[in-house]
């Protein structure tokens, strides 16, 4: 072999052909439809329909078809839809605030030992406190209404995002940091160009956890404070013993949860595409 630069031919020959590069190959299924899963769900509905039509004849366990027609007529009247709108809006606001504050404060704590030492005791005290325990306090302070709902959602979903961001920034591998430093990148550059991006997978995991916590919180607070939204709708229907409508409300909450996890999973695969965890679950 001569002194010409020649790793090229042999090296590239054994490698995958350089076509269709980029993220697409990594992304996995899109908002994937899982035919088998849907078939099973439909089958289950049919079985429940048959059971409730024959064996289980309690007035409190309506047939899925009755729930379905109740849902359609409620949608026609608009009551359930405005509840759905309130719930979604509070959910988005609460989660958005939590994400913004959680990422900024988590990153700040991760960047500075002094900040971490300062806030640590307060954080460790507040974190295990179940957020629903704060509802009475929040009602006194903020009154009954969407402000309390949003505040409680934000409070509860703040913690996973805060801690995941903190540990993500902290957990960056020494070699990643040293690489940047060896190229003369300074402290601030290392923070923004290495620590923050490498924390992204961990932040995404935090957001995924908080996305479900926020849904639990929004429904709970709406039920407890009776301040509108799907939670309140479900309680109203329960009190009025309109079981079909009540189940229609519950079904909608379940549907929101399902769609949220689809959307969050999809975003995660796109934004932190390099993360193995977020690619594990295939079609849903």
């Amino acid at each position: 072999m001569s002194l010409t630069s020649a790793p090229t031919e042999e090296a590239v020959a054994g490698a995958p052909a350089p076509v269709a590069p980029g993220r697409a190959a990594r992304r996995g299924p899109r908002l994937g439809v899982n035919p088998r899963g849907f078939a099973f769900a439909l089958g289950l509905l049919v079985v429940i329909e048959l059971l409730t039509a024959t064996l289980v004849t309690s007035a409190y366990v309506p047939r899925p078809s009755e729930v379905g027609s109740a849902l359609l007529s409620e949608i026609g009247e608009g009551d359930i839809l405005s509840g759905l709108g309130d719930t979604l809006w509070a959910y988005l606001q609460g989660l958005g605030i939590a994400a913004g504050l959680g990422v900024i404060l988590g990153a700040a704590l991760g960047a500075s030992n002094v900040a971490y030492q300062t806030f640590r005791v307060v954080i460790e005290f507040l974190r295990p406190l179940p957020s629903v325990a704060l509802i009475p306090f929040s009602i006194l302070l903020l009154g009954v209404g969407s402000t309390t709902t949003v505040a409680m959602i934000a409070y509860a979903s703040f913690w996973p995002i805060l801690f995941n961001t903190y540990y993500g920034v902290r957990g960056v591998h020494a070699t990643s940091v040293e690489t940047a430093r060896s190229f003369g990148v300074g402290g601030l550059g290392v923070f923004f160009r290495v620590q923050i991006p490498s924390a992204a997978t961990s932040v995404a995991a935090g957001v995924r956890i908080s996305a479900s916590i926020a849904l639990i919180l929004v429904i709970t607070v709406e039920m407890l404070t009776r301040s509108g939204g799907l939670g309140h709708y479900i309680v109203r229907m329960q009190v009025a013993i309109r079981t079909e409508e009540m189940y229609a409300g519950i079904f909608l909450v379940g549907l929101i949860g399902y769609l949220i996890s689809l959307v969050v999973g999809h975003l995660e695969r796109r934004v932190v595409f390099w993360n193995v965890d977020s690619r594990e679950d295939g079609g849903r």
Binding site: A6, T8, A11, A15, P21, R26, E178, T179, F183
Partner: protein
């Protein structure tokens, strides 16, 4: 100053600090009450020289390179680069890390990884940066893979991305920590020649290279001089110059009598390191 293989190296004989790189009595202990990793390393690297460092696994080779690169501070001793004592990463140096998977950034494409050290440089315009990046990627034979992310490449390809990134930086001193450990034999030969090429192209003013390797043959083929480290805590067990004719070529150089002689000698030195340390009054191994 060149020594023939077989001549003794006198540890700590100083050397001049005016060389491009001078390592003086480096000691490293990672934490109190842990054993020393490096125990008084001294050697000198001249401008344009290719020096290979070999030593048994775990003897502190990576530790040494990280101290030279200014990202790990020694417990005692100094590193001098271009006549200046360093206390941080010197701007004329780049290090190719042994742990290339952690060293590449998975959120950046191959191209952006290679561009990373240039991204914030104000003295280069966009076109110059692009040219350097393309050139470096071409040099390691990864043209066509610019838009891949590191996770989509094989281990050997990732290692070549890391090398390309260091080349794009165009350092005066290139430090390499077992850069070819996970490429196949053919690619390895190609990359070895690429390194020699890069050096030739930059001429006498150009690249000083300091490379850690496990591979004695690779060290002889590439280097002008070989520094053999002892078992931990490591000291310089031996320094020898490689007087193989240039230009070196894989087949001819590796069958040259001088190559075979040095090879036998280095094997001997590495096998006898313990005994040599005893005869030369170094610290005794405890067990």
């Amino acid at each position: 100053m060149r020594r023939r293989a077989g001549e003794r190296h006198v540890a700590g004989d100083g050397g001049d600090r005016t060389g491009i790189l001078h390592v003086e009595e480096l000691r490293k202990r990672y934490a109190p009450d842990t054993p020393l990793v490096c125990d008084g390393l001294s050697f000198n690297v001249n401008q344009g020289e290719f020096v290979a460092i070999i030593g048994p696994s775990g003897c502190g080779k990576s530790t040494l390179l990280r101290m030279i690169a200014g990202i790990l501070s020694p417990t005692s001793g100094d590193v001098w680069v271009g006549g200046r004592r360093i206390d941080g990463p010197p701007p004329e140096m780049a290090l190719v890390f042994q742990d290339y998977t952690r060293s590449l950034y998975p959120w950046l494409t191959v191209e952006r990884n290679v561009r990373f050290p240039l991204a914030k440089r104000r003295d280069l315009d966009k076109a110059e940066k692009a040219e350097r990046v393309a050139e470096a990627i071409r040099t390691v034979g990864l043209t066509g893979f610019e838009k891949y992310s590191p996770g989509q490449l094989s281990g050997g390809m990732q290692q070549r991305v890391a090398i390309a990134r260091a080349l794009a930086f165009q350092p005066q001193i290139l430090l390499l920590d077992e850069p070819f450990a996970s490429v196949d034999a053919l690619t390895k030969e190609g990359l070895e020649d690429t390194l020699l090429d890069v050096r030739d192209r930059l001429g006498a003013s150009g690249n000083t290279m300091l490379m850690v390797t496990h591979d004695i043959d690779e060290a002889i083929y590439l280097a002008d001089r070989i520094v053999v480290l002892s078992k931990p805590p490591c000291v310089v067990a031996e320094e020898l110059s490689v007087d193989l004719p240039v230009p070196r070529t894989q087949v001819e150089s590796r069958s040259h009598p001088e190559f075979l002689r040095i090879r036998a000698y280095v094997h001997d030195v590495m096998g006898l390191t313990d005994q040599r340390r005893r005869t030369h009054g170094g610290p005794q191994p405890s067990a």
